[in-house]
């Protein structure tokens, strides 16, 4: 259920079950291979192998250029030495070199990166400047120079390659650190009196360690490959390595291809394995929420909001579900709702109640894949669930307008306000550019934007938040829709601007005889600005009716609890609020009976066992076994 209201920024009081993503077959195969190579490196002297230096031509055990087979698994080289033993022994320098380079270079790089990313400023400029210079210098040429001066031994190669590895780690870690340092926990630690070095050591280093380790695995592979390249160019280590084996075999590729191919394959598989494991660890870094539970059967329950014949939007028994790693989430569960022309309906609920998914189920635009909808969503006689894509897109452009929470993401940042308005108009109707521009200016004026003839040529970033939201409303209204869907349209705005926007929406509804569906978490917005209200909880509408009636005399226990927990202006300061204890139900495996039963103060066995029958009294309805004041039934 964590995903349901993902587009809003609020966090509900629920702790979803968390789990690790499963790593897959290739990951574990790679781990196994790495373990084998490590074992080979460690135990090459212990396991009963032939002596890699024993000349087969003398001992008679292996012939010159013997092909791989039963006698010698990997065959023999030009002097009858056992290639299998040579490859096993070659694993050791590969492992020692890459482990040393990665751990030394990596630790230095992490430290440098954290310091640069946390302290920023001059420290950062100097460190990153040096790193850029090192990046610009081809590593292999540097290594040539080093080997030319000091020769090529482990003692030379390890520090040289470690230093070359530092900028790569530093750059990655610096990026991660900058992102982390903006989070509040760094400020929280400072506020508690933690010194800067403590922040680096205690708060930041543990967090950057995992990305650095992931990068380290990739680096492991790179070190092995680099050593191979050096050996290939004749500048390799003086001891036997996979690189030297390949270099030795390459001249004989026609006569004895196994001499180069087998060590090359060993090297290739090892590099691949490190890369796969590195990628796998990177995926582990963000523990993603996985809702744990079992799949629940669809419920063909028909709730009882009556079919008003003049409804512009009529939703019947709508169920919306989508798969997650933890099971199928039923975000909207058997919802029916009618919205008449000229009315505004507030859909109110907390995070995870399904209110945003209900709105998205009307338009069919979902932030997740694999969403299934059943039921009917009829707008002006057309069922949007069965309509053809072309029909649906025409409806969305002309009959239905959409206003989203964040005007900045709803607008294209690189195009002027006017060009976006003109485009929307010209997609759905025959209208000249000049006429569309005139209409665009007019529509900006209608949504209360001062100097519309100048603002029309501005880009979204040149406007304030309130003005941007007015522009998205103008866009939604461009083709004179009869139904306006608004998802938290004022949540990102200040209260004085919110007042202006809600006033505007309400006036437009009246002037144009338009229906408005307003999704919000804010009870006061609903109370102040809508005709009707539908309260959602656990994917269902638990209570609906005229706003004033529902707020004055709430029937469902959840509605009552929600209102009681809201701070009010008519209460004395320091009044105790009636908090709702507990957490909302799982949408993967909702409990039987009333969804609110677990948190309700008067629930009994019946509430926990039986779904409450929807009750309809005139224009109000609710599903609660003990409505109103409680158990006086």
């Amino acid at each position: 259920m964590a995903v349901v209201d993902a587009p809003t920024s609020r966090t509900g009081d629920r702790a979803p079950g968390f789990g690790r993503p499963s790593m897959g077959f290739i990951f574990w195969l790679s781990v196994t291979w790495i373990l084998l190579v490590v074992l080979a490196a460690a135990l090459a002297d212990v396991v009963p192998l032939r002596d890699p230096d024993a000349l087969g031509v003398r001992t008679g055990e292996i012939e010159r250029f013997e092909t791989p087979g039963k006698n010698a698994w990997f065959g023999g080289d030009g002097q009858g030495r056992d290639l299998f033993a040579q490859v096993i022994h070659g694993a050791r320098p590969a492992m020692v070199l890459s482990a040393a380079v990665t751990s030394i270079g990596g630790s230095l790089g992490v430290l440098v990166g954290v310091v640069a990313g946390y302290f920023r400023g001059r420290t950062d400029s100097v460190i990153m400047g040096v790193a850029e210079i090192m990046f610009a210098f081809p590593a292999i040429i540097l290594l040539f120079a080093v080997s030319a001066v000091w020769g090529m031994t482990m003692a030379i190669l390890i520090p040289a390659m470690a230093i070359l590895a530092v900028p790569g780690y530093a750059r990655i870690v610096r990026g991660v650190t900058i992102a982390l340092a903006e989070r509040d926990f760094v400020d929280a630690a400072r506020a508690m009196g933690a010194s800067r070095s403590r922040v680096v050591i205690k708060e930041l280093l543990p967090l950057v360690a995992l990305p650095a380790i992931a990068f380290g695995f990739l680096g492991f592979g790179l070190v092995i490959a680099t050593e191979g390249a050096l050996a290939f160019l004749g500048l390799g280590l003086e001891q036997r390595t996979w690189g030297s084996l390949i270099a030795g075999g390459q001249g004989l590729i026609r006569e004895a291809p196994h001499l180069a191919l087998i060590p090359a394959t060993a090297m290739f598989l090892t590099i691949m394995a490190f890369n796969y494991v590195g990628d796998g660890i990177r995926e582990l870094i963000d523990p993603r929420p996985i809702v744990v539970g079992r799949k629940r059967k669809a419920d063909g329950h028909d709730p009882a909001i009556s079919a008003a014949s003049d409804a512009l939007l009529s939703i019947r028994d709508l169920t919306t579900s989508f798969p997650t790693a933890g099971g199928t989430v039923t975000a909207v569960d058997g919802v029916s709702l009618d919205v008449r022309t000229g009315r505004s309906v507030g859909i109110v609920g907390e995070s995870g109640s399904g209110k945003t998914m209900l709105l998205r189920s009307i338009t069919g635009a979902f932030p997740v894949l694999g969403v299934q909808r059943t039921g009917r969503v009829v707008v002006d006689g057309t069922d949007l669930l069965t309509a053809s894509p072309a029909q649906r897109s025409t409806m969305l452009g002309t009959e239905i307008g959409i206003v989203s929470q964040n005007p900045l993401t709803a607008l294209n940042p690189v195009r002027t306000v006017g060009s976006q308005l003109i485009e929307v108009m010209r997609v759905h109707r025959e209208i000249s550019k000049a006429a569309a521009r005139a209409r665009a200016i007019e529509s900006l004026a209608q949504v209360g934007i001062p100097q519309p003839d100048q603002r029309v040529d501005m880009y979204p970033h040149q406007l304030s938040g309130g003005m941007r939201q007015r522009v998205t409303i103008a866009l939604a209204l461009a083709n004179e829709p009869r139904l306006l869907l608004a998802d938290e349209p004022t949540t990102a705005l200040d209260v004085t601007i919110q007042d202006q926007i809600l006033r505007l929406l309400s006036a437009l509804c009246e002037q144009r005889d338009m229906a408005l569906v307003l999704v919000t978490h804010d009870l006061q917005v609903v109370r102040g600005w809508t005709d009707d209200v539908a309260v959602m909880y656990g994917g269902q509408i638990v209570e609906a009716g005229p706003t004033a009636a529902v707020f004055d005399d709430p029937q469902h226990q959840y509605t009552q609890a929600l209102l009681a927990s809201t701070p009010r202006l008519d209460l004395r300061p320091h009044s105790r609020l009636a908090a709702i204890e507990g957490q909302p139900p799982s949408l993967v495996a909702p409990p039987p009976g009333c969804r609110f039963a677990a948190r309700c103060t008067i629930a009994d066995d019946r509430c926990r066992a039986e779904d409450p029958m929807p009750v309809q009294i005139r224009d109000r309805e609710f599903r609660c076994w003990y409505p109103g004041t409680g158990k006086v039934t």
């Binding site: 926990f185 929280a188 508690m192 933690a194 543990p206 200040d494 927990s565």
Partner: protein
């Protein structure tokens, strides 16, 4: 308005724990320009009191809270905490003097290091200050976790992502309380939470205030929440103070034109105020070049020439109500 002045400071009150005078915080905005985030704000806090700070984006309320904690550097002003001036201090000296002030942030999830266990997060303060380790600190951590409603053996072993937003905010509060602070600065502590959870946290804060003898600065844009928790409320606009008054007085009879506009904008309110649209117009001016005189004058229906020429100072218009406006 939006003025300066000290009329609202209770200079003779021996109970004053924190006194901030003429605090100025400016941020560089490039090309030699500066953002005037907080421009000469003074506050005082009496022991045991909760000061609500309200205003819209850009009014400087968050910056004020952070500057008092010295998480932002102020350009000038004084921050007297129990007779020590924190203003010029730095490094370990500051850390020692500021030990009794703690801060709670808006986003509880981002305020907790995701890799650390709850017990270590809460124990952090004790570790920094050296009286860690041993059964004493473990018992204290357990007691504090129980006090914020997170009892249970396994809580301390878990990591933040296993908790909901409301529970994370409880952990943040526990982390602050373990330091046994006198002053708690809360920056929008319930804004990221659902209504039902918000009520839990607000009740918890009221309980803890009594239990731990806390004095609070509660920064929020939500006027109903501020009314519920505050003894005194300060309204800010564009880096200046508009009005300071006892909570009920402010909500019953807001005197500053901006306070009136702000209250009238609360959706579904039943206050005796005209439509907000008649009380405020236009848009927030740039904080880089704020208006002369009263900063609210460009949007105020009552503005006159005097408002452009002379900055209004806070003055007492009723008992316990201080307003910076020439016309209130």
């Amino acid at each position: 308005m939006a003025g300066t002045g000290h009329a609202h400071l209770r200079l003779d009150d021996p109970n004053i724990l924190l006194r901030v005078r003429d605090l100025v915080v400016e941020f560089p905005a490039g090309k030699g320009q500066v953002v005037h985030a907080v421009s000469g704000v003074s506050i005082d806090l009496a022991r045991g009191e909760t000061l609500g700070v309200v205003g819209e984006s850009g009014c400087g309320k968050t910056t004020l809270g952070r500057a008092v904690m010295r998480l932002e550097d102020a350009q000038s002003g004084t921050i007297e905490f129990r007779d020590h001036d924190l203003f010029g201090l730095g490094g370990s000296e500051l850390a020692v003097k500021r030990r009794d002030m703690q801060m709670i942030f808006q986003d509880p999830v981002s305020s907790l290091n995701p890799r650390r266990r709850v017990r270590d997060l809460v124990r952090e303060g004790l570790e920094i200050w050296g009286n860690e380790s041993g059964p004493f600190s473990d018992a204290r951590v357990e007691a504090i976790l129980a006090a914020v409603g997170l009892a249970g053996e396994s809580v301390g072993e878990r990591r933040p992502h296993e908790f909901s937003g409301g529970q994370c905010q409880r952990i943040c509060i526990a982390r602050a309380l373990v330091m046994d602070p006198e002053v708690l600065i809360l920056d929008e502590p319930v804004s990221a939470l659902d209504v039902s959870v918000q009520a839990q946290i607000l009740n918890l804060l009221e309980d803890l205030k009594v239990e731990f003898g806390l004095t609070m600065v509660f920064v929020s844009h939500d006027l109903a929440v501020v009314r519920n928790v505050s003894d005194r409320v300060m309204v800010m606009y564009l880096g200046k103070v508009c009005e300071v008054a006892n909570t009920e007085r402010l909500f019953d009879a807001p005197a500053h034109p901006y306070s009136r506009a702000l209250l009238a904008s609360i959706p579904g309110h039943e206050l005796n105020l005209p439509d907000a649209s008649t009380l405020i117009s236009g848009e927030l001016p740039s904080p880089i070049e704020p208006p002369s005189g009263c900063r609210f004058r460009t949007r105020c229906p009552m503005a006159t020439e005097e408002c452009a020429e002379r900055e209004p100072e806070l003055r007492e218009v009723a008992v316990g109500q201080f307003v910076a406006c020439h016309h209130a």
